[in-house]
Symmetry: C2
Subunit: 550 residues, 2 copies
C-alpha cells in the first residue's frame, strides 16, 4: 500500500489524485487544500462575475464528498501543510479551523500548491475594496461588494488573461471600467503589434485603457478608492481588481530544502520529481522546459498542470512517464475578439538571440462569399533557412483558436512552413477556404524560404534606405478610405504591368497593399521584369498594427 499525499487540490493535484486511484485501488491517497474547495473551475471565475455562467454551483467540479465516493480519496480542506519532514517522510498539517496540527506520513508526496498573486509594493493597495481573482472566495467577495455597494466604477490593474477577462466581466455587469497596465501593451505573452487590435476593442467598449501607467498609491475613502497614477492623474474607483501576475508557491518546498529553479519555480525533472527523493511537483508551482528554447520557464496554464499531475501520479505508483516541454498555447476572449498564441513570441526569440523570420497574413476565417466572414490576423515565426515553425499568434473575431491549435500541433511535430503549404484542412464555405489561413501562411513563408519572393517588414517601410521606394499597389479609394502608407508611391496593381516604365531599375521597391496578396503579385511581376522588389509582409493591416504600438 503506497501512501500518497498531495498538497493542493485544484488542477494538478486533483488530476493526480484521480489518476492515482485509477492506477491503484490499494494506494492510500490523501489530498490537502488550505482553501475550502478542491477541483473548482478557476478559469470560470470571471465568467460568473460577468454573468455568462449563471450558476455558481457550475464552478464546483468536485467536492471532498464526491472525491471520496468516486475515487476513495481522503480530501482534507481547510488544512494547511506547514512543513515537510523529509527525514521522517511526513508532512505537518494544521487544521485552520481549530489550529490543531498533526503529522501525516507519506511514501510519495506531490506538491501542487499552484501560484500566488504578485502584488506590487504600492501604499494602500490592500484595502476593503481591493481583490485578487484566483479563488471562489475571491469571486464571492467581489460579487458581494458589487451587490452591496452597487459600485459604478471599477479598476483592473494588469492586462493579462485574468485582467482582461475581469474587464469584460465588469463591463457586462454594467460598470464603467478602467484598465491600468504597466506595460505598453496588454497580453504580454504576444508581441505588441498583435495586441494592438485588443487595445482598439477595449477602447471601443468604453473601457478607460491606460497603458504604460502605474498605480503609485491607493487611498481608501468612505465609499471609494483614490488611485494615484504614474502620469500624475488620480482615478476615483469603487472596486479594484489586482491582476498583476503570479509567482510559484514555493515556501513549503524551500523549507524542505527542495531545489528551486533559476526563475523561482520548483525544479523538477521530466518525471516531475523534485531534487528530494519521493517528492514530486506539478502545476503552476513548477519550472519546466519551454519547447522552443529548451530553457526553463514558468508557464502557469491549466492544460500543462493537468498533464503534469497525471504523469506524477503514474510515476509515484512505479510508472515511468515523462513530461517533455510546455509550448505555452493560450487563448483569451476580449470582447468580440479572440487572441491566441503558441510557441515562441518574437520578443522571446529576440531575448534568446535566436535567428528567425516572420510573416503576417490577414485572410478571412472562411470563404469570403459566405456570410459572417471576418479576418484572422496571423503572425508566423519560423527558422529562416529550414523553415521550422517557432511560434504563431493570431487575433480576430472567429476561427482564431482553430488556427492556433493546428499550428500548435505543427510546432510540436517540428513541422516547417513547407508542411503548412501542403496541409489539407477542413473546407466548406461556412468553415474555411480551399486555401486556409494556415495554408496561406505556409505559402507566404515558403515563397520566402525558396527565394521566390523577398520580404520586408513595416519597420523597413517606415525608414526606407535612400535607394528604396515604397510602392503601394492598392486602388486610390482604399488609400482615401482606409489610410495611406507614409511616403509611398501609388500604382494600382491592375495598372502596374502597363506602367512599369515609370519605375527606376536602380531602386529597390518595397511593395505594399492591404494584406500582402496583391503586393505579392506585384513583387513577382517586378522581379520577373528585372526590378528589385520586396513584399512588405501583411500589407497595410500589419502597418496599422505596428504603427499603433509606436
Amino acid at each position: 500500500m503506497t501512501r500518497i499525499v498531495i498538497v493542493g487540490g485544484v488542477a494538478g493535484g486533483a488530476s493526480a489524485a484521480a489518476r492515482a486511484r485509477r492506477m491503484s485501488e490499494s494506494a492510500n491517497i490523501v489530498m490537502f487544500d488550505r482553501g475550502d474547495y478542491v477541483s473548482f473551475a478557476n478559469c470560470g471565475l470571471p465568467y460568473h462575475i460577468g454573468g455568462d455562467i449563471e450558476s455558481r454551483d457550475a464552478l464546483v467540479l468536485q467536492t471532498p464528498q464526491s472525491f471520496k465516493q468516486r475515487f476513495n480519496v481522503d480530501v482534507r480542506i481547510g488544512c494547511n501543510v506547514e512543513r515537510i519532514n523529509v527525514a521522517s517522510k511526513t508532512v505537518t498539517v494544521r487544521q485552520l479551523a481549530t489550529g490543531a496540527s498533526y503529522e501525516e506520513p507519506y511514501d510519495k508526496l506531490l506538491l501542487s500548491p499552484g501560484a500566488k498573486s504578485v502584488l506590487p509594493p504600492i501604499p494602500g493597495l490592500i484595502n476593503s475594496r481591493s481583490f485578487t481573482l484566483r479563488t471562489l472566495p475571491d469571486m464571492d467577495n467581489i460579487m458581494a461588494l458589487i451587490e452591496r455597494d452597487k459600485p459604478t466604477h471599477a479598476t483592473v490593474m494588469g492586462g493579462g488573461f485574468i485582467g482582461l477577462e475581469a474587464v469584460e466581466a465588469l463591463k457586462q455587469r454594467g460598470l464603467r471600467v478602467a484598465l491600468v497596465e504597466l506595460g505598453k501593451q496588454v497580453m504580454a505573452n504576444v508581441d505588441a503589434e498583435m495586441a494592438s487590435p485588443l487595445h482598439q476593442a477595449i477602447k471601443s467598449h468604453d473601457v478607460d485603457l491606460k497603458l504604460a501607467t502605474a498605480v503609485t498609491a491607493v487611498q481608501e475613502r468612505e465609499a471609494d478608492l483614490q488611485l494615484t497614477l504614474s502620469d500624475g492623474q488620480t482615478l476615483s474607483t469603487q472596486l479594484l481588481i489586482l491582476a498583476t501576475g503570479v509567482k510559484p508557491e514555493i515556501e513549503l518546498a524551500q523549507q524542505a530544502g527542495i531545489e528551486i529553479g533559476e526563475l523561482g519555480g520548483i525544479k523538477v525533472n521530466q518525471r516531475m520529481e523534485t531534487s528530494v527523493a519521493d517528492i514530486y511537483a506539478a502545476g503552476d508551482a513548477v519550472e519546466h522546459v519551454e519547447l522552443i528554447s529548451g530553457a526553463p520557464a514558468l508557464i502557469p496554464l491549466a492544460g500543462p498542470a493537468n498533464r503534469q499531475g497525471r504523469i506524477a501520479a503514474d510515476n509515484m505508483l512505479g510508472g515511468d512517464k515523462r513530461y517533455h516541454a510546455t509550448q505555452g498555447t493560450a487563448v483569451c476572449r476580449v470582447f468580440d475578439l479572440t487572441i491566441a498564441s503558441t510557441g515562441a513570441s518574437e520578443k522571446m526569440l529576440q531575448r534568446n538571440g535566436r535567428d528567425y523570420e516572420k510573416i503576417y497574413v490577414h485572410p478571412m476565417n472562411h470563404a469570403g462569399y459566405f456570410p459572417g466572414a471576418s479576418a484572422v490576423s496571423l503572425k508566423l515565426l519560423f527558422e529562416p533557412t529550414e523553415g521550422t515553425i517557432l511560434g504563431a499568434q493570431a487575433v480576430g473575431k472567429d476561427g482564431v483558436d482553430k488556427r492556433i491549435d493546428v499550428l500548435a500541433m505543427a510546432i510540436r511535430a517540428k513541422l516547417t512552413a513547407f508542411d503548412l503549404e501542403e496541409q489539407e484542412l477542413c473546407y466548406a464555405p461556412p468553415y474555411g477556404s480551399a486555401k486556409d489561413v494556415v495554408n496561406l501562411a505556409g505559402f507566404v513563408a515558403a515563397n520566402y524560404l525558396r527565394g521566390e519572393t523577398d520580404i520586408c517588414q513595416v519597420e523597413d517601410v517606415l525608414s526606407p534606405a535612400p535607394n528604396q521606394v515604397v510602392l503601394d499597389v492598392r486602388n486610390p479609394p482604399e488609400l482615401k478610405n482606409v489610410g495611406e502608407v507614409a511616403g509611398a508611391v501609388n500604382i494600382p496593381l491592375d495598372q502596374l504591368r502597363e506602367r512599369l516604365n515609370e519605375l527606376d531599375d536602380t531602386k529597390e521597391y518595397l511593395v505594399t497593399c492591404m494584406v500582402g496578396l496583391r503586393a505579392h503579385v506585384a513583387t513577382r511581376m517586378l522581379i520577373n521584369a528585372g526590378f528589385k522588389a520586396k513584399n512588405m509582409t501583411g500589407g497595410f493591416k500589419t502597418y496599422q498594427m505596428v504603427n499603433a504600438c509606436l
Copy 2:
C-alpha cells in the same frame, strides 16, 4: 517565352494560371473553359439557393477580364478543347457559339477539366425538372424553376456533400424535401455509425429520408415528376436534384493516349505530369495517392485541386515541386450539425486489410460549465501497436472542424496517440477544456496502447461471450431517461467499490456508461481489484450510434 495552355478554368486551372504568371512575366498563358465562367465558387452554389449567400455576384470570383487585367492570362470561355495533337503540340479548340475551330499551340499543357456527374441509368431521369448542381448555370436553372413554378416538394438523389447541402438549401427555401440515398447511410466517406446523428438531424428537420432506396424510374407529367422507388412506393415531386456522385473527365486525355489510372482518373506523378511529355494534369480529373494507404484514389476536393494547380504551374515553368498525397480532409454542414473527417475511415482500413484499433469519445466542445457547450463525438482510428493515427471522424454542433483540422495535421506529421495526450491546445472556457477533445482521445487510445485499460466495442456488448457480463455503471435515472444497454447489469460507479463482492471473478466484465469516462474509472477499479474488465469505448452514446445503423 513558354506557351502554357490550360484546359479548365476553375480550382486547379485558375490556381495554376495565377501562379504561372507570378512565376513568369514572359510566359504566354491561355486558359480555356467550355462554360461561360472561370474561377467561380462552386462550393457556394447550394448556399445561394438556400439564401445564405444573397448575391449571385459573390460567387463569381474572377472574370476573363479580371484575369487578363491582373494576371495577363488570355481566358477563352465558351471554348471546348476537343483534341490534343501530341505530335504537333497543339490543341484543337471549338468555339461553342460559332462552331468554328482552330488550333492553339502549347509548350506545356495543363489538363484541369474537373469531374462530371455520374448519372445512374434510370428511365426518364433526364427531364425538364432534373438538375445536377455543379455549375452556375445548373444553379440558375434550379432557382429559375423554383421562382417560376413555386414547387412545394423537391427530391434530392444522393446523400453526399452536394446532396446534403442541397437538401438544407431547399428546406431553407421552404420546400418539403425527400432525400433518396442508395446506401444505408449518407456521407459515405465516414463510417456508418458516425453518419447516424446526421440521419437524426435530417429527419428532425422534416426531411423524408429514404436510405437504402433507389429511384428505379422517373416519369414526367404536367407539373411534376413521378419517381418509382425500389421499395415499390412512388413519390411525387416537382424538382429533382441529381447528386449521385462524380467521375473524372478523361475523354480528352484518353483520346490523346494519356495513361488513365486503375480508378479511372488521369494518372500523374508527383510532379503532376501525365504519361505524355509536357502534359500535366491537376484537380478532380486526376488520380493521386491516398496518404494512409499509399494507394491510388479519386478525391475530388477543392484544396488538393488548388495545390496541384500551383505545383503544376511551377513545374511547367522549370520548377521541381512535388505533390505528396491526399488525406481527404473534408467537412459538411448538415442543419445544426457539422461532420468532418480526415485520413482513413474504418471501412477503408478494412478494405485494405490494415490492422487498426478504434476508440470513441464524446466530450464537450468547450468547458461544460460555460454556456453553449455541446458534445463532439469523435472516432479515432490508429495503428494498434505504435499508435500512429490513421484517421479521425467527428460530428457535433460546434468545434468539429477544429478538432479534425488538428488531427489532420497530426496525421500528416505521422504522430501517435501518445502525442495527442501531450498536445497543448488553446484553453479558456469559451473555446475548449484543459483536457481538450483531442487530448481525451489521446488519453483513451494511449491507455489502451500501454495496456493500462483493455477496450471492447459495441459489437462485443451486443453479443457477449458466455463468460462475459455487460456492466453498466450509470445511475438508474439515466437508464430510465436515456435508455438501457440490452442485457446489462447495473451497478452505479459510486456504489461499485462497496459492491465488488457482487461480482464474479470467473467472468470478464464489459463495462459501459454514458460516454466511457465513468466506465474507464470502473474498469480500472475492477482490474486493480483482480477482476477481468474491458471498457466499451464511447459508452452508451456510441452504442446508440451503432445501433441506429443495424
